[in-house]
């Protein structure tokens, strides 16, 4: 691939004493939408956590090369500052941390990293307004505690809001559509599509093809038992729907 932004080579990783990723290879082409599909328990969330440096995951072998550098040893906050973003399958609730304060702290950490001026509360709120409208989020959602008492849909919108603010380069969306009603799905997809600018790269993780009607993928990768077993174009989606994952043979 000529324009690779991230290359995962023979990645092996475990959670506890259980090896989950068993020599996974995947290349992400800059500016494209990659979908990862696979049955429950295949290791999709584990892969996404490995990419952002989650403490649950122990990398046993292989490498993750991002913009030409290995990031396996990098701290999570560094990876984030370098432009990798994960929208969590299950975002945590943090009572007592004000959402707006959190969002501004995250944005300012990023701006500082890029040598830009930090934004004060008023400037920040102005920035936020347009995003909130587009995502159909009530403005009180950012004055509440981070994710506390949010519905499933609200949590996912809040993830997308963070993505819009932080403007990452590699965006990993883990089951972004799970638990969303049609309105929320539309709003979330609109947010995601807005970020497509031909440079940002998306890794859309799903075990269910519905989201791919809204975010058109360029590539489909099938993940099964800790490995990517097939890579193809978007035409693979309908084939998977018809025959399921069992029909896919490892390439």
């Amino acid at each position: 691939m000529s324009n690779t932004v991230m290359k995962i080579e023979n990645l092996q990783a475990k959670i506890g004493d259980k090896q989950i990723l068993k020599g996974l290879n995947l290349e992400l082409e800059a500016g494209k939408v990659h979908a990862i599909m696979g049955p429950n328990g295949a290791g999709k969330s584990t892969l996404s956590k490995a990419l952002v440096g989650h403490y649950d995951i122990e990398v046993l072998g292989g490498d993750i090369i991002y913009k030409g550098k290995s990031i396996v040893e990098m701290e999570a906050e560094e990876r984030a500052l370098e432009g990798i973003f994960l929208s969590f399958q299950h975002p945590v609730e943090i009572p007592g941390v004000n959402n707006a304060y959190f969002l501004r702290t995250a944005l300012n950490a990023k701006r500082k990293h890029e040598g830009k001026e930090e934004l004060n509360a008023a400037e920040f709120l102005r920035e936020m307004k347009k995003h909130l409208e587009m995502l159909g989020m009530k403005s009180d959602m950012i004055s509440r505690s981070l994710n506390e008492g949010f519905s499933g849909g609200e949590k996912k919108r809040n993830e997308i809001l963070q993505m819009l603010i932080l403007e990452p380069e590699v965006i990993i969306l883990d089951e972004i559509d799970s638990g969303l009603d049609i309105d929320a799905l539309r709003a979330v997809s609109e947010g995601i599509n807005k970020m497509k600018d031909g440079k940002r790269t998306f890794l859309v993780i799903t075990h269910y093809s519905r989201i791919l009607d809204y975010i058109e993928p360029d590539y489909i990768h099938v993940l099964k038992d800790g490995k990517v077993i097939k890579t193809a174009g978007p035409e693979l989606v309908s084939q998977l729907e018809e025959h399921g994952y069992d029909a896919i043979e490892e390439e």
Partner: protein, 392 residues
């Protein structure tokens, strides 16, 4: 003066040592409780002998003509300034509790024949600022606080000190909260670098239908203990909240007794403790419901977060109940910061140090946000951050 000299002395010897003639009852109480030591129930988690056993300088307490200020300023135990019209007197304390659990309450009274009496007028809001300027000194003073019936007053207490060392402060309140009134006392004390140690021994009398709201914010790395006895009459209510954020080798906290004396009294006591370094937090809190206090409601809770494996929390909520007709609950939990929450913040580019700070403040926030005055709230938050960053 070395307070350890008072150890195992008989009433006559104590009277002579303290020059406390005609105060036999107090001497009696002090001697029967005994100077606190490692073995005293109330002081067992606190290195009391370390702070008592020193040869301290003493001061003369001469009342001063008061300057006008926007707050009550007490320097080394003497009031030097107050808002215009504030009623402040130097006089002997009229109502001393003869059944307090704390010997230092009696020692305080014995050392302070004259107390600072403050009468709060109407719906006042006043700040009391305590300043300490002397090293190697025993500073002792007591405050007697009255408010008015049907009125709602607030006191903000703050503490500052000059670059002193090895001083011991003994102070405390006798508060008389009048019928149908509310008195809110918010104490903020950040102590660092061994400037001074403190033993504060209080008594709070809450009259019929009155509310006592007592919030303490104790931050830093030094040694201090607050001992608090609250008595609740009919339909009286106390809402006590204690935030501890300790580091270094601090031993600090609250020893309290909330006594439900009459029917339908209610109490709520909440402690939140964040302990770093080798700090030891203390929450030794008894709620006593007497025979005469039917239909009491009492709720007590202590939550602690240990940020370091050498930190330790001595949490001891206790109920002592002499009747059946009541609702009471208590509990204590101790844990660490939630790694999932920490990771979430870090995965958004927030540094480990900032993420920890956010979570620590979040834990404390329920108590901090109860301080309605935004200036005082900011003061607590920035003191919090100062201690936090000093430590990381």
């Amino acid at each position: 003066m070395n307070l350890i000299d008072l150890k195992h002395k008989n009433p006559q010897e104590v009277t002579d040592l303290l020059g406390a003639k005609e105060r036999e009852m107090l001497v009696e109480r002090f001697v029967s409780l005994g100077l606190p030591s490692k073995k005293s129930e109330e002081y067992r988690y606190f290195d009391v002998e370390k702070v008592l056993d020193k040869a301290y300088e003493t001061l003369n307490y001469v009342p001063k003509t008061l300057e006008v200020s926007d707050k009550i300023e007490i320097v080394d135990g003497v009031v030097v300034a107050a808002p215009q019209g504030m009623r402040i007197y130097n006089e002997a304390c009229q109502q001393i509790d003869m059944d307090h659990f704390d010997p230092m309450y009696y020692l305080g009274h014995l050392l302070c024949p004259q107390t600072i009496k403050i009468e709060l007028d109407g719906d006042t809001e006043v700040e009391i600022e305590h300043t300490y300027t002397q090293s190697d000194t025993l500073i002792h003073y007591r405050i007697v606080l009255y408010n008015q019936a049907n009125r709602h007053a607030t006191v903000y207490e703050n503490f500052i000190c000059e670059d002193i060392e090895n001083t011991l402060v003994l102070y405390g309140y006798d508060m008389h909260i009048a019928q149908d009134s509310t008195l809110r006392v918010v104490k903020m004390q950040s102590m660092q670098d061994n400037h001074y140690a403190m033993i504060a021994s209080h008594k709070v009398n809450v009259a019929k239908n009155a509310n006592a709201i007592l919030k303490s914010f104790d931050l830093g790395g030094d040694q201090a203990l607050q001992l608090l006895k609250v008595e609740l009459l009919e339909h009286a209510h106390v809402d006590a909240g204690h935030l501890l954020y300790l580091n270094a080798d601090s031993k600090r906290g609250t020893v309290s007794q909330i006594v439900h004396v009459s029917e339908h009294s209610t109490s709520k006591q909440e402690a939140k403790n964040i302990l770093d370094g080798e700090a030891r937090g203390i929450f030794d809190a008894l709620i006593r419901v007497e025979h005469s206090a039917k239909y009491t409601k009492a709720e007590q809770n202590s939550k602690s977060i240990l940020l370091h494996d050498k930190a330790y929390m001595a949490s001891k909520p206790q109920l002592e109940i002499y009747i059946d007709e009541l609702e009471a609950s208590h509990g204590a939990t101790t844990g660490q910061l939630d790694p999932k929450q920490l990771f979430y913040l870090q995965s958004r580019g927030i540094s480990y140090v900032e993420a920890r700070k956010m979570l620590v403040i979040a834990f404390a926030n329920t108590l901090i946000e109860e301080v309605k005055d935004t200036r005082q709230q900011e003061r607590i938050k920035s003191a919090f951050e100062a201690v936090f960053y000093k430590n990381t």
